[in-house]
């Protein structure tokens, strides 16, 4: 579909929204500094005093019973207790005379036996506002020090800026989604129809009509053209008809409505993918909350089980659902799938133990597989080979966009209404998507279409004897999915949550991955196609992915985490398109004997095994080596895969002669992004 009109409109609106957002950001910031800060800082100091006075009362009681304040035991414990229930207090220290006798909290606030030096503003260690409370009466002078973060006002401000920043990105992407829907269905598609009708008319076939009945300008134009054509036709009543006849009109019409349907379907798919993406930031944390011990299995391994099972069922259900959708119709399978997913999401939110959650997740997985394969099937049914790649790209774009928007929105939503309610929101979204699909998708199957033959074990054998296929699938695609699931879906949310990072922040971090994919992937596809080189992209991407795992393993601080996630996004953007191109080029023989769909189906199936294995292996690593060790371990696995892949490609000889005319075919494939 020609999108230039939409593009222009989009840039205009995006620019406008960005400017408005930035202005509001600046206004908010200045308001924050002039109005809020003078009130906030004394409030923080008061909070420190309240926490402190509670402890002072306990120590005072002990002193009044006749205990000497410097000999009290277990003060560290009550300080730690108080810190545990007041997470916004950084440290509490009891100083008797001029030395610390008990301390709990941030280590950098302490310098041996005394508090760290104060800066010009009186902040301890340059970071903490310190409130001192006198303990006991007379005797040895004792003071309880309570520290709250001096920068908490700034960090709250920063938080807001980042929140608005992610809202900006999400808004822009949502903008595009809605524009594509509105303009695509009510402007672009009708205009194409008008163009087609006029084109026919120009060639003398006057029996085609635009059939546009809308009450807007486009409808007006359509009716005017129809009327003009009617007039022409009456004048030309006796003229002999050319070879064209009425049979052609509905065909062209169908094509146009199907393009319209695809842009509507894109929106439905976007909403549907969003449902799952909303839960992305907290799913592994939620599983951990529901955890109950299973004899003989480590905690980390059990936590990995629901994610792994989800991936496994996803992989297994996809071919089955695909087959089913060819027999029973795309719409039926889509609706059943969306219904199952909604049920599964609702069940996940209501689950009271791990078993219930696993069952719910399995339902969701089957639903997801059904919806995506049915939607893809519809796009393939509805498009000719010439427009198929573009249509698939259009449809898959919705999934990618959901990947960016989902975690960012989901994190904020989860922070506000909790994990369980977010699941309920997701279930509602899945139902909304089902409703849209119910209106968009045709009731009946294409009919008479030759059924794609299913995957057979022997086919796998055929493919696995091709070392290039093995190198590409097992040692490039599988590690990519493995890394994505293990790092981004499993370990990172757990690790960040453990170190106290808010759900909103986790959402922002995950958003970065998809943003890299969206921005870099097309560039890489372009570069790779122009140079005709694939292996260097795969190798560099693989190495960067391993590097990303290493960066993530170094520490759980936000700057490093952000770098690591961005690197992972870059790495996967690098391997994504070249993988598909290389698959087409490496498996010429297999494609001709087994068929394009079968080879790609097999590639996708094997690739998903990476996602299935990931939670288990990551859980195993986690149980033995902790978060950092686990991420490092995953980096090592990824690096090893790159090495084996390069070795296999080198051994199997140079670049095979590729049928470049077919190089665009693999694009007519599943969306590049696995929404699971």
């Amino acid at each position: 579909m020609e999108l230039s009109f939409i593009k222009r409109l989009n840039w205009l609106l995006t620019g406008l929204v960005s400017v408005l957002m930035l202005v509001s950001l600046v206004v908010q910031t200045s308001h924050f500094n002039t109005l809020f800060r003078p009130q906030a800082e004394p409030e923080l100091a008061r909070k420190a005093e309240v926490v402190g006075s509670y402890i002072v009362a306990q120590i005072d009681r002990a002193v009044s019973l006749g205990f000497e304040v410097e000999k009290l035991t277990g003060v560290d414990e009550i300080l730690a207790d108080a810190l545990a229930v007041n997470p916004d207090v950084n440290y509490i220290a009891l100083m008797v005379g001029d030395r610390i006798t008990a301390f709990a909290g941030a280590a950098d606030a302490r310098l041996g036996d005394v508090l760290a030096a104060r800066d010009a503003d009186g902040a301890v260690a340059g970071r903490y506002i310190d409130a001192g409370l006198t303990v006991g009466s007379g005797g040895v002078p004792a003071v309880l020090h309570v520290g709250v973060p001096a920068g908490s006002v700034e960090s709250a401000l920063n938080d807001m800026v980042f929140d608005l920043g992610s809202v900006l990105i999400v808004a822009i992407l949502l903008n595009i989604e809605i524009l594509l829907l509105v303009v695509g269905t009510s402007v672009t598609a009708p205009l194409q129809r008008v163009g087609d009708v006029l084109h026919e008319g120009a060639e003398g076939r006057l029996n085609m009509r635009t059939g546009l009945r809308g009450r807007d300008e486009v409808g007006h134009l359509g009716r005017a053209i129809d009327a003009a054509l009617d007039g022409l036709r009456r004048m030309d009543e006796t003229a002999p008809r050319l070879h064209g006849d009425t049979a052609e009109a509905p065909v062209a019409g169908d094509r146009i409505t199907s393009m319209q349907r695809i842009s509507e379907l894109r929106f439905a798919i976007f909403i549907f993918a969003l449902a799952e993406e909303l839960t992305r930031t907290f799913l592994s944390v939620y599983i951990k909350d529901l955890f109950e011990p299973v004899p003989g299995l480590s905690k980390e391994l059990v936590i990995g089980a629901p994610i792994a099972l989800f991936m496994l069922l996803w992989a297994v259900a996809q071919p089955v659902a695909g087959n089913m959708s060819e027999r029973r119709g795309r719409r039926a399978v889509f609706l059943v799938g969306a219904g199952l997913s909604a049920l599964g999401l609702l069940g996940s939110g209501l689950a009271t133990d791990l078993v219930q959650l696993i069952v719910a997740r399995c339902l969701t997985a089957v639903g997801y597989a059904s919806v995506f394969i049915a939607a893809q099937g519809f796009v393939i049914d509805a498009t000719g080979p010439r427009r198929r790649a573009g249509a698939i790209a259009l449809y898959a774009g919705g999934i990618l966009t959901a990947g960016v928007c989902g975690p960012a929105i989901g994190g904020v939503v989860a922070d506000q209404i909790g994990f369980r309610m977010t699941f309920v929101v997701s279930a509602a979204l899945a139902l909304a998507a089902a409703f849209m699909a119910w209106r968009v998708l045709p009731r009946h199957a294409g009919g008479g279409k030759v059924l794609t033959r299913g995957l057979r074990l022997r086919d796998v054998g055929v493919c696995l004897t091709n070392p290039r296929f093995v190198a590409l699938t097992v040692f490039s695609a599988v590690p990519a999915k493995f890394g994505l699931t293990a790092l981004l879906f499993f370990l990172l949310p757990l690790a960040l949550d453990d170190s106290g990072v808010s759900q909103s922040w986790i959402g922002r971090v995950l958003l970065l991955y998809w943003l890299m994919m969206i921005v870099v992937s097309p560039l890489v596809a372009h570069l790779s196609d122009r140079s005709g080189r694939r292996t260097p992209f795969l190798a560099i991407g693989g190495v960067i992915a391993a590097g990303a795992a290493y960066v993530l393993s170094v520490s759980a601080t936000l700057p490093l985490t952000i770098t690591g996630v961005a690197l992972l996004g870059l790495a996967h953007a690098l391997v994504n398109s070249p993988q598909m191109a290389l698959l087409a080029e490496s498996c010429v023989r297999e494609r001709s004997t087994l068929g394009e769909t079968t080879v790609i189906g097999m590639f996708r199936l094997i690739e998903r095994l990476g996602s299935v294995v990931a939670p288990f292996l990551a859980g195993l690593f986690l149980a033995h080596y902790g978060y950092h060790g686990a991420m490092k371990g995953i980096g090592i696995v990824l690096a090893a895969c790159v090495a084996v892949q390069l070795l296999l490609l080198a051994v199997s000889g140079g670049r095979p002669s590729a049928d470049l005319s077919q190089a665009d075919l693999p694009q007519a494939d599943l969306p590049q992004k696995d929404p699971a």
């Binding site: 306990q58 120590i59 277990g74």
Partner: protein, 355 residues
């Protein structure tokens, strides 16, 4: 130090705060006021209930609590309290007790209870009370002492209350004070309930990795345990490395000689822990995790109320312990031993001060 659960200790404070009257009974989790008195039930409307109490001393908290509960429930009762110093004297009192035709007998502590009702498997009607419902109070381990067959189903018209916290909770409390490496139990081996209690403590100590020293009191020439040996035993266990002396619900050691234990422990600079209330209040012991006797007595009163009103037969009323305990701390002993209590314990403890 961290092994103690704060929850269990916090529950202790709650127990110390138990209000008087039916509220206290309700807090034990036992059904209260559920009974609908039958027309023939004594104590209401008609003639007052006739109750005989057998106790070593008239002023024990159990008796006060028992009386208090029945009064607060509005039961008319004639409570005849009889002081019995020696358990062996009970047998001679039986004809007199029978002649008084009491509706119920209350027995205080293990020895008097055992003397009054005998063992369930050899209850000779000529030697023991078998035809009158008996409620006991502050009995350490009625199953080990074979007073009842099981706690849930006494199996005969004998039921009552226990007053000792589970041994694991007691040990946790001791270890919350300090992570002692060696503890000793000083006890009278002639008291059967003590043998059971010490055996349980020894097993629990082994589980917690605490070394246990047995400080049984030796018998004198006549074969009777000699309380005069207590200071020597405490010196010996201290020399063997014990950091804390435990005394249990022991009549000889805890009830009658607790001051000797406290003095000897102070002299040898070791801590003391007691599982019953009075010894801590009366002598300079360091600490204890206890059921306040008055609450145990109230709980027994509630069981008596159910029996007297005919709500439930005694044989069907389970033997229970209060599930909340008080942590008692004697501040001056802590100071003299230079063993400051950890702040967490201090915050929840009931402080016992020297008079």
């Amino acid at each position: 130090m961290t092994s103690v659960t704060r929850r269990s200790l916090l529950l202790g404070t709650a127990g110390a705060l138990l209000a008087a009257g039916p509220a206290a009974a309700a807090a034990t989790g036992a059904p209260s006021g559920a009974a609908v008195p039958g027309p023939a039930a004594p104590g209401r409307g008609g003639k007052p209930a006739n109750i005989i109490v057998l106790t070593p001393r008239k002023d024990v908290g159990d008796v006060l609590g028992f009386r208090d509960l029945l009064e607060s429930m509005g039961m008319q009762a004639k409570i005849d309290v009889r002081e019995v110093q020696q358990a062996s004297a009970v047998a001679g009192m039986l004809p007199d007790i029978r002649a008084a035709k009491p509706d119920l007998v209350l027995t205080v502590f293990t020895p008097l209870t055992l003397a009054a009702v005998g063992r369930y498997d050899e209850a000779d009607p000529s030697k023991f009370l078998t035809d009158i419902p008996v409620v006991f109070t502050s009995v350490t381990d009625p199953v080990a002492s074979r007073i009842v067959r099981s706690l849930e189903q006494p199996g005969r018209a004998v039921t009552g209350t226990r007053h000792i916290a589970p041994v694991s909770v007691q040990l946790k409390t001791m270890l919350a004070y300090r992570r002692w490496k060696k503890i000793a139990a000083v006890y009278n081996p002639a008291e059967e309930n003590m043998v059971v209690a010490v055996r349980d403590l020894k097993e629990e100590a082994a589980r917690q990795g605490v070394e246990f020293i047995d400080g049984a009191i030796p018998r004198d020439g006549a074969g009777r345990p000699n309380p005069a040996a207590i200071p020597d035993i405490i010196r010996e266990v201290a020399q063997a490395g014990a950091e804390l002396v435990y005394i249990g619900p022991d009549t000889l050691v805890a009830s009658n000689n607790s001051q000797a234990v406290a003095d000897a422990a102070l002299a040898n600079n070791i801590a003391t822990f007691c599982s019953t209330e009075l010894p801590i209040r009366r002598s300079g012991l360091l600490m204890g995790l206890v059921s306040p006797a008055i609450n145990v007595g109230r709980f027994a009163g509630l069981k008596a109320y159910d029996i007297l009103t005919g709500a439930r037969p005694a044989a069907a009323i389970p033997v229970e312990t209060l599930n909340r305990f008080s942590l008692l701390l004697r501040i001056n002993t802590a100071k003299r031993l230079d063993l400051y209590p950890p702040m967490r314990l201090l915050n929840i403890a009931e402080i016992v001060k020297d008079a």
